[in-house]
């Protein structure tokens, strides 16, 4: 009997230690962001004196100024345009491609060829891309970013899309063929609607990849008015060297779209990022 009681006591301690640990990890993951949020509403003096507290008076002006300064506002819309254009083109192109490669014309060589991109680090593309877009007269043009982002997202998108399309029963295509639909009809009437979850996953992950990229933007864009948000955020450090509140506000502006998306589409985000991981 005593032994029984003692064991539950140990179990209780274990449980407390476990939750304590999990909560500490949660604080370590989350608190940095909370600190930036509160600091984004303070002035320098208050950040220094009252580092951990809430702002006494919320300085919303920091956001207004950060939005106007260092091209944050313009680059916000540049990023949005580039991301949306990339996602749209990427989905059309890879949905069509993976449809053919999984259901109409299976070809191991082409599938392998298209999956090689997973192993190619972005660094291998930087110099050739700069030259290629110079040759195409697209340097310093957001279109060049859209093209590169579509290209660099092809391999993983094909991987996810193909996984989804393979799960759709073949009988559906056959039934539609008997009904007189051709490839295009089947694609739009059957494949596209059923593949929606796969498309959502591809879209979310591609959005994150584009929104968060810095390197390709740095080498392809130099006109300040055409910079993406990552680039102007990295420039904030230079322009607001001592205005910490503004810097924090700029930081928050840059992460808001991604955070909202993560909270709304968590399943797709996690699925995409870990599928992206599992693929190697």
């Amino acid at each position: 009997m005593r032994r029984f009681v003692k064991k539950t006591f140990v179990e209780k301690i274990n449980l407390i230690v476990k939750y304590l640990f999990l909560i500490i990890v949660a604080i370590v993951s989350l608190y940095p962001f909370i600190w930036v949020v509160t600091s984004s509403l303070k002035n320098n003096n208050e950040i220094y004196r009252n580092s951990f507290g809430l702002p006494k008076v919320a300085l919303w002006d920091n956001y207004v100024e950060a939005w106007k300064g260092a091209h944050v506002g313009t680059s916000f819309f540049n990023s949005l345009f580039v991301c949306l254009a990339t996602i749209t083109i990427l989905i059309i192109v890879t949905a069509m491609g993976s449809y053919i490669l999984t259901r109409v014309y299976k070809n191991a060589f082409l599938s392998t060829y298209l999956s090689l991109g997973i192993m190619i680090p972005i660094h291998a593309l930087l110099i050739p891309s700069v030259l290629l877009f110079k040759f195409l007269h697209l340097q310093d043009n957001l279109v060049s970013l859209v093209i590169v982002y579509v290209a660099t997202n092809i391999s993983f998108s094909m991987f996810i899309m193909k996984g989804f399309l393979e799960g759709i029963p073949k009988e559906l295509d056959e039934a539609a063929t008997i009904d007189g639909s051709n490839l295009v009809g089947i694609f739009f009437k059957i494949i596209f609607p059923i593949a929606k979850p796969g498309i959502a996953t591809v879209a979310t992950l591609a959005f994150l990849n584009c929104w968060n990229d810095l390197l390709l933007g740095l080498v392809l864009i130099s006109d300040p008015a055409k910079k993406t948000l990552s680039m102007s955020i990295s420039a904030l450090k230079g322009s607001y060297v001592t205005q910490y509140g503004l810097l924090c506000a700029g930081f928050i502006i840059s992460i808001i779209p991604v955070v909202i998306m993560y909270l709304l589409l968590q399943k797709q985000v996690v699925q995409g990022m870990t599928a992206g991981a599992v693929k190697g």
Partner: protein, 292 residues
């Protein structure tokens, strides 16, 4: 007959865009990077084929080796911190935890945020005036540990690595959590019936079951470190000199700051080679293990 032709034609039409974009903007550039690595070239003048000259001078370049070992240090630190932490947290979450989803949501949050933003945030934390690391140290009475984290040569490299390690732990938690959830429940139950304690179950049942995920995570740590760029570039620009630069940063500096496209390509090829060799070795180990 007519139907067949149109089917083939449509297939080609459907496949063409993806293959075209991929070939022109991924595959060809990669091949040309290989070619450029054998040339001397600043991007403006004509390319001059110089054979292995770039590779030879790279091997004799002391900066390259500093950067190379910085990258290896990053690989080691991500391996010994991220994977065990990810596994431990995932294991704690897995064993009937209340609020598991909330914890997972919080842990994964930093993963989705731009590395640029994370680096910016950490450079604020390291700031000598308002940085919270120093403020916390002061608050707990450890003033003597206060530092200028990004200029002290002893802490510089680790201060640059910290945000990257911190940011991606959630990714490994999530991967391992998925791995643990994929273990058949009967296996765990029978182990418990056999009287195995938690520690033994973990060592003899769980670890072998998730070994394929562990090697995936290892590959991720390695490839992630080999292409690391943003954190170092934003926080220190890789400097002073190349003290806090990784291979990815050094490549960017060589190619786009010093306009040495040939040498930049050579560095890229060494990045690809190292990553292929390491993943190749890992694959060999895993296949050998599964054959035994």
């Amino acid at each position: 007959m007519k139907r067949k032709i149109s089917r083939l034609g449509l297939s080609i039409l459907f496949l063409a865009p993806v293959i075209f974009v991929y070939s022109i903007f991924i595959f060809l550039p990669m091949l040309s990077s290989l070619y450029y690595s054998f040339t001397e070239w600043n991007g403006v003048t004509d390319t001059a084929f110089v054979g292995l000259k770039n590779y030879k001078s790279l091997l004799a370049d002391s900066d390259y080796w500093v950067v190379f070992f910085n990258t290896i240090k990053l690989v080691i630190i991500t391996l010994v911190v991220q994977i065990p932490m990810g596994l431990i947290i995932a294991f704690l979450l897995y064993s009937k935890t209340r609020g598991m989803k909330i914890f997972r949501t919080i842990y994964f949050l930093p993963v989705v945020i731009a590395p640029v933003a994370i680096a910016l945030m950490f450079s604020l934390f390291y700031n000598s005036e308002i940085g919270i690391f120093n403020i916390i140290l002061e608050a707990v009475g450890l003033d003597m540990l206060k530092k200028n984290w990004l200029s002290d040569t002893h802490t510089l490299l680790y201060a640059v690595m910290a945000p990257q390690v911190w940011q991606y732990i959630g990714l490994y938690v999530t991967i391992f959590l998925g791995a643990l959830q994929s273990i058949p429940e009967e296996l765990m139950e029978s182990a418990q019936i056999d009287g195995a304690n938690k520690y033994k179950t973990f060592l003899h049942i769980i670890l072998p079951q998730i070994s394929s995920f562990t090697s995936i995570c290892t590959v991720l740590c390695i490839t992630g470190s080999l292409k690391a760029f943003d954190h170092s570039w934003i926080m220190t620009g890789g400097g002073p000199g190349v003290r806090s630069a990784y291979l990815g940063v050094y490549m960017y500096k060589t190619a786009f700051v010093n306009s040495d496209f040939g040498m930049g390509s050579t560095i890229t090829i060494t990045i690809i080679t190292v990553s292929l060799i390491i993943t190749g070795i890992l694959n060999m180990i895993t296949t050998m293990k599964s054959n035994n």
